[in-house]
């Protein structure tokens, strides 16, 4: 039996129930992704971006390329996915 530490009630449901979706804020938009894609690499694969040159920022922290596959996402995370575009 798993016991959860007691926290504020409004955050408790996320810990107590098994969620099959994650709600993230990606580039300023609320987006749901399947919970099994819970690493940053999983997220990029979900959107078919894993082969692209992208840079990911998670909760205002830029992620090193090597850490993408180990970095776990949680509900409510703020994700910025940026890339290079034409410019002078």
């Amino acid at each position: 039996m798993v016991r959860f530490s007691i926290g504020p009630f409004d955050t408790a449901p996320f810990n107590l129930m098994e969620v099959d979706e994650l709600e993230l804020i990606i580039n300023g938009e609320k987006i749901r992704i399947p919970a099994e894609e819970s690493t940053v690499t999983g997220l990029l694969q979900h959107f078919n971006l894993h082969q692209k040159v992208v840079i990911v920022e998670l909760n205002d922290e830029i992620l090193a390329k090597e850490s993408l596959s180990e970095t776990l996402l949680s509900n409510g995370d703020k994700v910025e996915i940026v890339h290079f575009v034409g410019g002078g």
Binding site: I55, I62, I81, G87
Partner: protein, 255 residues
């Protein structure tokens, strides 16, 4: 050779990658220009359009050094963040500091530009700030360790050419680091004049991408920059008010 920080280039043309009619024309323009440095901007990706090609994918990245810009930043803090994002790509450590202070003229904010440049130098970036043609500001940017100074010839994208050659020349004469004339170039002769004044390079974008035939203009710019540089190295003649005959005045068979 153009030396910027630890980098060396044989081309003195830095080419922007914005606003080309299509990727094919852009790729050809880049090739014909023989540039070795390409600028880019950093923007949010549309994650639902992964199939959209990106110009980077069309390039042999071994042949080019990427110079991302911080365009979009209005403060030093925003510029530093964009620089970090660009570096996290693992593709480059050069950064064109561009902190715009006025949306109508797109002129840089001098205070924020200096702050961002100083911080980025400390963080180990190779720093090329886009600046106005202010001579003292150029000196201050050099003093905080910038690896090149990039004064504008005239407002970005305006195609007005060089509106203050005297200030540009003052900046070039005093600078110990390369001076690259950035922004406002409209024609090959503008680029040639920048080089004749003593610029170490020219950065342009719209003059090529917005031309009727971008590929041809890319070639024209390459040749103009080479010609201007050769002219500068060769050393121009003195200007005189009156004519000085090129042909001998002795031995005339007349009279």
């Amino acid at each position: 050779m153009l030396k910027i920080g630890s980098y060396e280039f044989s081309s003195r043309l830095l080419l922007g990658t914005g606003k080309y009619p299509n990727f094919d024309v852009q790729k050809q323009s880049v090739e014909v220009s023989e540039t070795e440095i390409l600028t880019f901007a950093v923007r949010r990706m549309n994650i639902f359009e992964a199939s959209q090609p990106n110009f980077l994918e069309k390039l042999d990245l071994k042949k080019y050094t990427l110079l991302p810009n911080t365009a979009g930043a209005k403060t030093a803090k925003e510029a530093v963040r964009i620089a970090h994002l660009a570096k996290a790509s693992g593709l480059c450590d050069m950064i064109k500091v561009e902190v715009i202070g006025c949306q109508k003229t797109l002129l840089p904010d001098p205070i924020e530009t200096l702050k961002a440049a100083e911080e980025l130098v400390k963080l180990g970036f190779t720093v090329l700030p886009y600046t106005s043609d202010d001579v003292l500001l150029a000196k201050r940017l050099e003093a905080v360790g910038c690896h090149a100074i990039m004064p504008g010839a005239s407002p970005i994208g305006s195609g007005q050419g060089i509106i203050n050659p005297l200030n540009l020349r003052f900046i070039m004469e005093q600078s110990e680091v390369p001076v690259i004339v950035d922004a406002g170039i409209g024609t090959p002769s503008d680029a040639a004049i920048a080089m004749e004044l003593g610029a170490d390079g020219v950065l342009l974008n719209t003059a090529v991408s917005g031309a009727k035939d971008p590929v041809k203009m890319a070639k024209a710019m390459k040749l103009a920059i080479e010609a201007g540089r050769l002219g500068y190295e060769a050393g121009r003649i003195e200007k005189n008010d009156y004519a000085i005959a090129s042909s001998p005045v002795e031995g005339l068979s007349i009279g």
